[in-house]
């Protein structure tokens, strides 16, 4: 985002309430080194490293990288905690192994609790193994983000931004995490404390960062998974302020044929 712009050393002078900045280089929108996730998922009570996790892993890390935050609700109304995760993990793993792509619509709601206000945006979502993701916001604004292996592309109106994960530490980390998730090595770290709950139709995976860098930004990420097909219904990120961002996925198509062109970064 604006990390280089606003760091104190870069502020040279203040005049009539204005700030002077020297010329800078290398700042990219939306990416914050402090948000660099170091490794990954939970160590206890969480699903095994399975490929299907990469779907929401990707989302999760984009949520983290682009910001968004989360809150651990102490209670999950209507849910009971799973004491034995074996079945959940096993079935999740089986489905994940068979999931090569996901195409979906999404609705994003940003809830501003103190303002009693909700900002809703909509768009389309595409994911393909191993690490390709496209999120295209179409309402009420146009915004496109593509992750394709080593590269990230953002188009905001007429403005375009490209970032190589090779030259950018944050994306290098993300890339590593994506690959780690696919290979199943990412879930052994202790960055998140996790728990899994269930109700009649869904599982709820609750992830709370134990790492201060992450917990400064969010308290919990809650992911609901449909029991029918183990696909992700929602991802909710809760901030300590009480504000939250929730992504609802609808019209999901698993293993739809997604053309390469959708992930192409020119």
């Amino acid at each position: 985002m604006c990390r280089l712009i606003f760091i104190e050393e870069n502020i040279k002078d203040v005049e009539f309430g204005a700030v002077r900045f020297p010329p800078l280089g290398g700042c990219r929108e939306g990416f914050d080194p402090r948000l660099t996730p170091t490794s990954s998922f939970p160590k206890e009570g969480i699903a095994r490293p399975v490929a299907h996790l990469t779907f929401y892993k990707l989302l999760l890390f984009f949520c983290i990288v682009f910001g968004s935050a989360i809150t651990a609700q102490a209670q999950h109304a209507g849910y009971t905690q799973l004491s034995d995760l074996t079945k959940f993990k096993q079935q999740f793993a089986e489905v994940a192994a068979k999931t090569n792509s996901i195409k979906s619509d999404f609705t994003q709601e940003k809830n501003l609790s103190m303002l009693s206000e909700k900002i809703t945006s909509k768009g389309k979502f595409w994911y393909r193994k191993p690490n390709m993701l496209r999120m295209e916001y179409t309402q009420p604004f146009n915004y496109l983000m593509i992750l394709n292996k080593d590269n990230v592309y953002i188009r905001d109106g007429q403005k375009e931004n490209k970032v190589s994960t090779r030259s950018n530490k944050v994306f290098k980390q993300i890339n590593k995490i994506v690959v780690d998730c696919i290979q199943g090595t990412a879930l052994n770290s202790g960055d998140f404390k996790s728990a899994v709950y269930e109700n009649k139709g869904t599982y709820l995976v609750s992830l709370s960062p134990v790492n201060k860098q992450l917990s400064d930004f969010f308290k919990t990420i809650e992911i609901t998974v449909d029991k029918k097909d183990y696909s992700v219904n929602t991802i909710e990120m809760l901030e300590s302020s009480g504000d939250s961002t929730i992504l609802h996925f609808t019209n999901k198509e698993i293993n739809a044929n997604i053309p390469d062109a959708l992930f192409a970064i020119k």
Binding site: C2, R3, E29
Partner: protein, 211 residues
């Protein structure tokens, strides 16, 4: 000859320095009118969402959504987050002129940054403009509603008839340091707002989103 040249150079330099010190507003003439009338252009931010672009030195770009809402106690809350929901800041402009930062990301949490943003938005919201010390000026094209500040003054510039807001300037004693525009008012809310700093690149562009 060298003496003449030296004197000429000295004289020219003095003239240049003097010219440099003169105010761009020095040719304005007194004008009739009531400074309070500029308030009709004060935006009515009941509840409005703007697509927001911020350009800063070095070609850096930051974008997102700015929600501005007036709460029942008449305070104005301003929340800026990126497209994916990540919050950059949450400010409150209180009815008594107070200002509160509810949240700001650490990278922006520097007093000069906050003060700049606060002053920029106060300028377009027409807050802290004291009509008691305000006065009117004009030139051949425009009317100037001038509100002296601790340093310099704020100029709200309209057409001669006072029916159209041309631009806003926050100025030092000599020249503008910030220029702002508000265009296409609908129900008291401008569709477009632009804020541009003159001493360094720091531009904010707001485009109203239909919700």
């Amino acid at each position: 000859m060298p003496i003449f040249r030296t004197r000429f150079l000295l004289l020219s330099s003095c003239l240049l320095v003097l010219a440099g010190c003169s105010s761009v507003y020095k040719n304005l003439k007194p004008a009739e009118g009531n400074v309070r009338e500029i308030k009709k252009f004060a935006p009515d931010f009941t509840n409005v969402l703007y697509k927001t672009e911020v350009d800063v030195v070095g070609g850096h770009h930051l974008s997102g959504l700015l929600l501005i809402k007036t709460l029942p106690d008449k305070s104005v809350r301003m929340v800026f987050s990126n497209e994916m929901g990540f919050k950059f800041f949450d400010f409150e402009f209180k009815p008594d002129g107070g200002f509160k930062v509810y949240y700001i990301i650490k990278q922006m949490d520097k007093r000069p940054v906050i003060v700049t943003l606060q002053k920029d938005f106060e300028l377009v919201m027409m807050r802290k403009q004291n009509p008691e010390t305000g006065y009117m000026r004009q030139d051949n094209s425009f009317l100037y509603y001038v509100f002296p500040q601790e340093k310099g003054a704020n100029y709200y510039i309209t057409n001669q008839a006072g029916t159209e807001l041309i631009r806003i300037e926050r100025s030092s004693d000599r020249k503008p340091v910030v220029q702002a525009i508000m265009h296409n008012f609908h129900d008291g809310i401008p569709d477009t707002i632009g804020i541009s700093h003159k001493n360094f690149k720091f531009n904010i562009g707001l485009k109203r989103l239909k919700r």
